[in-house]
C-alpha cells in the first residue's frame, strides 16, 4: 500500500498528525509528480477568469473559490514557490506560498470539495490548460500524505483490500450472478440464456460496477439479455469484476495501477480479446485511457465501453430495437469522463434514437455538457454533500428544460446523482441507464 488511507481515522485527525517533515516530503513528491505537460500548463495561466462559468460549482455559488483558475492557482503558487522560476525571489509579486497546514486545508476544500474533475473548464480555457489533470495530480499529492477525504479514502481502501469498492465477497458475487441468470432465463423464456462465468476463450470479458450486483441488478440483466440476443461470446470474471477505480479520483496512481492490473490479470487468465466496460464514466477513463499509463505498458487487448459494443449491434442489425416500447420522451446526460474526457459521444445517441420513441437533447450537450455533480468522487465524500446537491442545480435545470419523462445516462455515478437530484429538486423523471432502455426495447426472436 503506497500510503496510509486510514479509513477509520477521520481526516481532521489525519491533518493533526502532520509534522514539518510531512510537508517537506510532499514538496519532494511534487517535484516527482510534475511532468513536462503539467509544468507547461502551470506556467500558462493568465488568471483571466473566463473559465468561471464553465464550472457548475461557480454557476451555483458564485464563490471565488469555485473558479477553476482560483483552484489551479492554489497549485501554481506552491509550484512556483519550490519548482518555478523566480518563485522565492519574487514571492510577494507572484504571491507564492509555502506548502503548510493552511495551504493543505485550502487544497482539500477546493481541489476535493469544489471539483468533479469534469474537464469543462479545460475546453473553455483560452490557454488550453488541462485543469482536471493538474487537480488530479494535486489530489495525488494529498493522497501521498494520507489526506484523501473520508468516504473516498474508504472506497479506495475497500477496492484495494477486497478487489471491489463495495467489498462484495466472491461467494456473494457468484450467488448473485447465478440468481440473475435464472431471472433472465425466466424472463425471456429461454433456458439457453446465460450469464457465463469464467468462460475461457470468450471474445469479451464484461466487467461491471459493484453497484449493479448490489443495488441495480436490472442493469446487469439488461446487458445479459442484449448479449444473448446478439449471440455474443462473453463472460464475467469470478474474482475481479469491478469496472470502477476510485484511485483515479483520489489521484493515487500507484493504487490506481494496482486496481487496473487486476482486470488485466483477468483478461490474461481467461484469454479474452476485448475488455468491455459496463456503463461507468470514470471506469472508462481509467481502463481505456489511464491504465496503460499507470502500468507503463501497452495493453495487448482492446478496451471498449458497452455502448460501443451495443451501438455496433444496432448498426449491423445484430439486435433489433422497438422504440414503441419506450414511449416516454427521453433525454440523455453525457457523463464527463466518458464523453468530454473519453471520446464516446455518438454511440449512446445511436442506441437511444433506436430505443425510445422520442429523444431530446439537453442544452448544452456532448462535450459541452454540464457535469451532474456526482463525479470526482463527490458521491462518496459526505463532507461535501450539501455543496454537491446545490451544484447539481445546474443539471436539474437542464433536465427540467427538456420536459423529458426519462433521463438516461451511461454511468452509475451519474445515475446515483441524477436520482438524488430527481428527489431533491422534484424533477418527476425516471432515471435509467442507456443499456436498460435498450434492453426494454429489445425484440427477441423466438428460438
Amino acid at each position: 500500500m503506497s500510503q496510509d488511507y486510514s479509513k477509520d481515522v477521520p481526516l481532521a485527525q489525519r491533518l493533526e498528525r502532520l509534522g514539518p517533515d510531512s510537508y517537506k516530503t510532499a514538496v519532494f513528491r511534487l517535484a516527482k509528480t510534475i511532468d513536462a505537460p503539467s509544468a507547461v500548463h502551470l506556467e500558462s495561466c493568465v488568471r483571466c477568469g473566463l473559465c468561471a462559468e464553465a464550472c457548475h460549482y461557480y454557476l451555483d455559488d458564485r464563490d471565488l473559490r469555485s473558479i477553476p483558475a482560483y483552484k489551479l492557482n492554489l497549485i501554481i503558487r506552491v509550484f512556483r514557490r519550490y519548482l518555478g522560476s523566480g518563485g522565492r525571489l519574487a514571492s510577494a509579486w507572484l504571491r507564492t506560498r509555502d506548502f503548510d497546514d493552511g495551504e493543505v486545508r485550502e487544497w482539500i476544500d477546493a481541489l476535493f470539495g469544489r471539483c468533479t474533475l469534469c474537464g469543462r473548464c479545460a475546453l473553455s480555457c483560452t490557454m488550453g490548460i488541462n485543469v482536471p489533470a493538474l487537480i488530479r495530480k494535486a489530489r495525488g499529492l494529498l493522497a501521498s500524505m494520507g489526506l484523501v477525504p473520508d468516504g473516498l479514502a474508504s472506497t479506495v481502501a475497500a477496492a484495494e483490500e477486497t478487489g471491489n469498492n463495495m467489498a462484495i465477497t466472491r461467494e456473494d458475487w457468484l450467488e448473485t450472478v447465478s440468481w440473475l441468470e435464472e431471472e433472465v432465463q425466466a424472463e425471456i423464456g429461454d433456458p439457453a440464456a446465460r450469464l457465463p462465468m469464467d468462460h475461457k476463450g470468450a471474445t469479451m470479458l464484461y466487467v461491471v460496477n459493484p453497484r449493479e450486483p448490489k443495488f441495480y441488478p436490472l442493469t446487469l440483466t439488461a446487458a445479459a439479455k442484449i448479449f444473448h440476443a446478439a449471440g455474443e461470446s462473453w463472460t464475467l470474471p469470478s474474482t475481479y469484476f469491478d469496472v470502477t477505480n476510485y484511485a483515479y479520483f483520489s489521484g493515487d496512481d500507484e493504487v490506481a495501477g494496482l486496481i487496473a492490473s487486476r482486470l488485466k490479470g483477468e483478461m490474461e487468465r481467461l484469454g479474452t480479446k476485448t475488455l468491455v466496460l459496463s456503463e461507468c464514466g470514470h471506469g472508462f477513463s481509467s481502463n481505456r485511457w489511464e491504465a496503460p499509463e499507470w502500468l507503463s505498458q501497452k495493453i495487448g487487448y482492446e478496451v471498449k465501453s458497452v455502448l460501443q459494443v451495443v451501438a455496433d449491434y444496432v448498426r449491423t442489425g445484430r439486435i433489433k430495437l422497438d422504440p414503441e416500447r419506450n414511449p416516454k420522451t427521453a433525454t440523455l446526460h453525457d457523463p464527463c469522463q466518458l464523453v468530454r474526457l473519453g471520446g464516446i459521444v455518438e454511440e449512446q445517441r445511436l442506441i437511444l434514437k433506436r430505443a425510445v420513441r422520442d429523444f431530446v437533447e439537453m442544452t448544452p450537450n456532448r462535450e459541452k455538457n454540464y457535469c451532474c455533480g456526482g463525479g470526482g468522487g463527490q458521491l462518496s465524500m459526505t463532507a461535501f454533500t450539501a455543496r454537491r446537491r446545490s451544484a447539481g442545480r445546474i443539471k436539474a435545470g437542464q433536465i427540467e428544460r427538456t420536459k423529458a419523462g426519462v433521463v438516461a445516462s451511461p454511468c452509475h455515478n451519474c445515475l446515483d446523482q441524477l436520482a438524488e437530484l430527481n428527489k431533491y429538486y422534484r424533477l418527476g423523471v425516471e432515471v435509467k441507464s442507456v443499456i436498460e432502455l435498450a434492453a426494454e426495447a429489445l425484440v427477441l426472436d423466438k428460438r
Binding site: 510534475i34 511532468d35 513536462a36 505537460p37 503539467s38 509544468a39 507547461v40 500548463h41 506556467e43 500558462s44 493568465v46 488568471r47 483571466c48 477568469g49 473566463l50 462559468e53 464553465a54 458564485r62 471565488l64 473558479i67 483558475a69 482560483y70 492557482n73 522560476s85 523566480g86 519574487a90 510577494a92 509579486w93 507572484l94 504571491r95 475546453l123 473553455s124 480555457c125 483560452t126 490557454m127 488550453g128 490548460i129 488541462n130 489533470a133 481505456r288 485511457w289 496503460p292 499509463e293 502500468l295 507503463s296 505498458q297 501497452k298 495493453i299 464523453v339 474526457l341 473519453g342 471520446g343 459521444v345 455518438e346 445517441r349 445511436l350 448544452p364 456532448r366 462535450e367 459541452k368
Partner: protein, 208 residues
Amino acid sequence: MTVLKWAVILSGLYSVVALTYLIFKARSFGRRTAYSTPQGSPSRGVIYALGKGMMPWEKESARLHILTYMGGMLYHIGIFAGFGVLLAGILSVEIPPLLREALRLCLALGLISGLGLLLKRLLGPHGRRLSLPDDFGANIFVDIFIAAALVTLSKPEVTFFFLAYSIFLLIYIPAGKIRHCFFFFYSRLLFGLFFGRRDVLPVRPVER
C-alpha cells in the same frame, strides 16, 4: 542613440533566450510515453487547437465574454503593432504614411482594450482577488509600451524614451506572466494532442 538601439537588441535577445530556457526548464520535468492506443487524431487535434478552436463560436468562455474576447484580440494586435514600431525605430526605417495610420489605429485600439481589461480586472466581481500583483504590473507595463509607441509615431523626438522603456519591458517579459507569449503555443499544442488523441476534438460529424 546607436548604443540604445543595441541595448534594445540585446534585451530582446535576452528575452528570447530566457523564454527558451523557461520552455526547456518545463520540458526538463520529463514527458512520459503515451501507452494508450489513440482513438482519434492527435495532429488534427493540434490543428484544431491552434486554429478553429480559438474562435469564439467554438469556446463558450469567449462567447459569453465576447467583449473581453474582442478586447483581448485588439490588445494583442496593439502589442504586435508596438513591436512593429520598435523594429522600425531600431532599423531607422521610415514608416509609409498608410502603414503609419494603420499602426496608429491598432495601437490606439490596443491601448483602449488594455486599459479596459485592466479596469475589468480591478472592478470585476472576482478579478482583483483572483489576480496577482504581476497581473496588474504586466498589464500596466504593456499599456505604457503601447502608449509610448503611439506617441513615438506622432512625435519622433520621444523615440529615445520609447527605446529605453522597451529595454525594461523586454527584460521583464520572462520574469512574469508575459511569458505566456511563449507558453501559449506550447499549452495549446498539448491541449490539441490530448483531446485529439481521445477523439473529443475536433468534434466528429454527427452520426444519423
